[in-house]
C-alpha cells in the first residue's frame, strides 16, 4: 500500500514538474529561432537596439521620444481623451480591475522622484520606487529585454513632460490577486530579467525586428496566448488571444489563420498605417498601437518587424480561412436561410450606406468588409466591439471614422447585426447573444467616452 502511495506521489510530482517545466520553457519569446544568442556587447552585427541610424546624433530626449513610441507606453498609460501618460486606464481582468499609473514627472502622484535605478527596476523587474510589486499588466517581463540606455532615454523624455497631478486609482481585485507580495513567485517563474540577446544565426535586420517586437513593442502581450498562470505561452507564440475584450489575431506564418497569405507589402502597410487593402484596418487596441506607436517608426524599422514576423513558426488557430469574394449586390442573395432578420434590418438602416450589400465600400477602402479578419471571426468579437466603439483614428492618410453605435443600440441589436455581418461577409456566422455583447462591453470598458459625433 505504502508503495502504491509512493508511486502515486512520484507520478504527481513528475507531472507537476513536467508541467512547471513546460510553463518555464514557454517563457522565452525567441527560443523558436534556435541559433546562438550572445550578449549584446559581444554582438558584431551592428546596432540593433536604440534609435535608428538617422536619429543616432539626436539628443537624449529626442531619442527617448522615438523609443517611447516604439515601446508604446502611451496607449496604456492614458485614458481615452485624457492627458497622455497621466494613467488611469482600466484593465478589466477576470479577477478584477487594475488601473495604469501616472508616469508624468509629478513628484507626489507620478514618477518625479524616481532615480534611474528605481526607473530601471520598474521597467525590468516590475518593482515600484516604494518596493511594492507591479502587476504584469505592466509588461515588464517583455521590457526586461530593453537595454538600460533605451529605458533611461525614455525616462529622460518622460521627465520633460509637464507634471500632471493624477493620484492612482484604487485597484479592485479579489483575494488572492490583491496580494502584491505573491507576485514574487510569478516573477521568479516568468521574468528572467535578462536583457536582449541577439541571435548570431539571424540577420541584423531580424535581430532589430526581434528587439522592436519583443523588448519594445511587446506584441506578444496581446497576440500570444497565456498559460494558466497568465504568463505568455510561447509554445503558441503569436497564435492570437483575447485581450481587453478584443481579439488580437494570429500573426504567425500560418496561411489560413495567420499572416502566411499576406505579402510583405501588406504587412508593412498594416503596421505603418493601420490598413492594408483587402485585409481591413486596425481598430480598438491595435488602432491605438498603430496611432501611438507603429506609425512613428522609420521605414527601416517597420521592414525589420516584417522580417521578424515572417520568421514566426506557423501555428493554426481556430479561425476559418478568410473569405475574399464580395457578397452579392442584392440583400436577397448570399446567405438567406441563416440570416437574422433583425440584423439585416439594422444593417440596411445603419451600415449599408457605407459598407454596401456587397461589403465593398463605395466610400473608402477603409470601410470595405470583404477579406477583413474581424468579419471572418465566427466569434464576431471585434465586429461587435467596432460597432459599439466605432473607429476614430487620425492617420497620415487622413481621418478614419465610423460612428460608435454602442450608446444608441441595445445589446440584442448589436448581437443581431454582428451575427448578420459575419454570416453575410465572412466565413461563418456568429451566434452572439445580447448577454455576450454586454460582457464584451464590460471587458473593454473605460471611463465613459463622451466623444460626440462631429456636428456643424
Amino acid at each position: 500500500m505504502k508503495k502504491l502511495i509512493g508511486i502515486g506521489v512520484a507520478v504527481i510530482v513528475a507531472v507537476a514538474l513536467g508541467f512547471a517545466g513546460w510553463l518555464f520553457l514557454g517563457r522565452d519569446p525567441m527560443s523558436f529561432a534556435g541559433g546562438a544568442p550572445v550578449a549584446l556587447e559581444d554582438y558584431k552585427g551592428g546596432n540593433i537596439t536604440g534609435v535608428p541610424a538617422q536619429l543616432a546624433g539626436a539628443d537624449l530626449v529626442k531619442r527617448g521620444a522615438y523609443l517611447i513610441h516604439a515601446a508604446d507606453c502611451q496607449a496604456c498609460h492614458t485614458t481615452p481623451g485624457g492627458v497622455p501618460f497621466a494613467g488611469g486606464f482600466a484593465f478589466n481582468m477576470p479577477f478584477g480591475t487594475l488601473y495604469s499609473t501616472n508616469i508624468t514627472p509629478d513628484k507626489q502622484t507620478g514618477i518625479g522622484n524616481y532615480t534611474d535605478a528605481q526607473f530601471l527596476a520598474a521597467v525590468h523587474k516590475g518593482i515600484r520606487a516604494d518596493g511594492e510589486k507591479l502587476y504584469p499588466a505592466m509588461p515588464y517581463a517583455s521590457y526586461a529585454l530593453m537595454t538600460d540606455a533605451d529605458a533611461l532615454a525614455i525616462k529622460a523624455y518622460l521627465f520633460t513632460l509637464a507634471p500632471v497631478r493624477a493620484p492612482p486609482k484604487q485597484d479592485q481585485l479579489s483575494w488572492p490577486f490583491n496580494q502584491r507580495a505573491l507576485l514574487a513567485l510569478w516573477n521568479g517563474a516568468f521574468n528572467p530579467d535578462e536583457r536582449f540577446r541577439p541571435d548570431t544565426g539571424q540577420s541584423p535586420q531580424w535581430n532589430r525586428g526581434a528587439y522592436l517586437a519583443e523588448a519594445m513593442g511587446h506584441c506578444g502581450e496581446c497576440h500570444t496566448p497565456r498559460n494558466p498562470a497568465f504568463a505568455l505561452d510561447n509554445h503558441r507564440k503569436f497564435a492570437g488571444a483575447l485581450t481587453a475584450g478584443w481579439r488580437a489575431y494570429n500573426i504567425t506564418s500560418d496561411k489560413a489563420s495567420g499572416l502566411g497569405d499576406w505579402t510583405d507589402e501588406d504587412i508593412y502597410l498594416y503596421l505603418s498605417t493601420g490598413h492594408a487593402n483587402g485585409h481591413g484596418g486596425s481598430a480598438g487596441p491595435m488602432g491605438e498601437a498603430t496611432d501611438n506607436s507603429l506609425s512613428y517608426l522609420v521605414p527601416d524599422d517597420v521592414h525589420a518587424l516584417v522580417t521578424y514576423l515572417r520568421s514566426i513558426p506557423a501555428h493554426a488557430s481556430d479561425l476559418p480561412r478568410t473569405v475574399t469574394t464580395p457578397a452579392p449586390a442584392s440583400h436577397k442573395e448570399g446567405l438567406v436561410a441563416e440570416a437574422d432578420p433583425r440584423g439585416e434590418k439594422i444593417f440596411a438602416g445603419a451600415c449599408a450606406s457605407c459598407h454596401d450589400w456587397t461589403g465593398v465600400s463605395p466610400v473608402t477602402g477603409y470601410a470595405t468588409l470583404t477579406g477583413v479578419r474581424a468579419v471572418n471571426d465566427p466569434n464576431a468579437t471585434n465586429v461587435a466591439q467596432t460597432v459599439i466603439n466605432g473607429v476614430a483614428r487620425k492617420t497620415s492618410q487622413g481621418k478614419i471614422f465610423m460612428p460608435a453605435f454602442g450608446e444608441g443600440y441595445s445589446d440584442d441589436d448589436i448581437a443581431a447585426v454582428a451575427n448578420y455581418v459575419t454570416a453575410r461577409f465572412g466565413a461563418k456566422g456568429a451566434h452572439l447573444t445580447g448577454g455576450d455583447v454586454a460582457d464584451l462591453r464590460k471587458q473593454a470598458s473605460q471611463k465613459p467616452n463622451s466623444q460626440e459625433a462631429p456636428h456643424g
Binding site: 450606406s353 460612428p403 456636428h455
Partner: protein, 152 residues
C-alpha cells in the same frame, strides 16, 4: 487642384483632398440641393450618385472620388429613372417639410437603376438608411412603385 465630373461637366475644384464631397458641392460649387443632416452617414440626406452608386457625400472625401462621375439632385432629373422618380414624387405629393427629399430621390433613383422592379423588401433594403422625420415613408414607397410601373 482637383478635377471632378459633376452632373456631366468637368469641374476644377481647389479644395483639400480630405474635404467631404458634400462641402465641395455646397460651398465650392454652389450646388446646395444636397443637404447636410447628421454628418455621420446615418440619415441619408446628403446622398448623391458616385459612379452610379448612392453614396453619403458627408463621408466621402473629395480625394477619394477619383474619376467616378458624380450626379446630384440638381441633375438627376436628366436621367430616365430620375425623371420618372421626380414625376412620381410630385404625383404622390411625397414631401412634407422636404429636407430629406433630395436624399430620398437620389436613393430611390439608384434603386431603380439597379433593380427596375423592386418589391417591398428591396425598397426597404435600399431606403432604410434614408430617414424622414415627417414620416412620409408610405408615400415614398408608393411613389417608387409608381415610378417603376412607368419604367416598365
Amino acid at each position: 487642384m482637383l478635377t471632378l465630373t459633376i452632373n456631366g461637366q468637368s469641374r476644377e475644384v481647389d479644395a483639400p483632398e480630405d474635404m467631404p464631397l458634400l462641402w465641395v458641392l455646397r460651398d465650392h460649387l454652389g450646388l446646395v440641393g444636397t443637404k447636410y443632416g447628421c454628418g455621420i452617414a446615418q440619415c441619408g440626406v446628403c446622398t448623391v450618385h458616385v459612379g452610379g452608386k448612392p453614396v453619403r457625400s458627408c463621408q466621402l472625401t473629395v480625394g477619394d472620388v477619383g474619376t467616378r462621375a458624380v450626379v446630384t439632385i440638381e441633375a438627376v432629373g436628366n436621367t430616365p429613372h430620375g425623371a420618372k422618380v421626380q414625376q412620381a414624387w410630385m404625383e404622390a405629393a411625397v414631401p412634407q417639410c422636404g429636407y430629406c427629399q433630395a436624399g430620398q430621390i437620389m436613393s430611390a433613383t439608384a434603386l431603380l437603376d439597379s433593380n427596375p422592379n423592386p418589391d417591398d423588401s428591396d425598397i426597404d433594403a435600399a431606403m432604410a438608411g434614408n430617414l424622414c422625420r415627417c414620416g412620409t415613408y408610405i408615400r415614398i414607397r408608393r411613389a417608387i412603385k409608381n415610378a417603376a410601373a412607368k419604367s416598365a
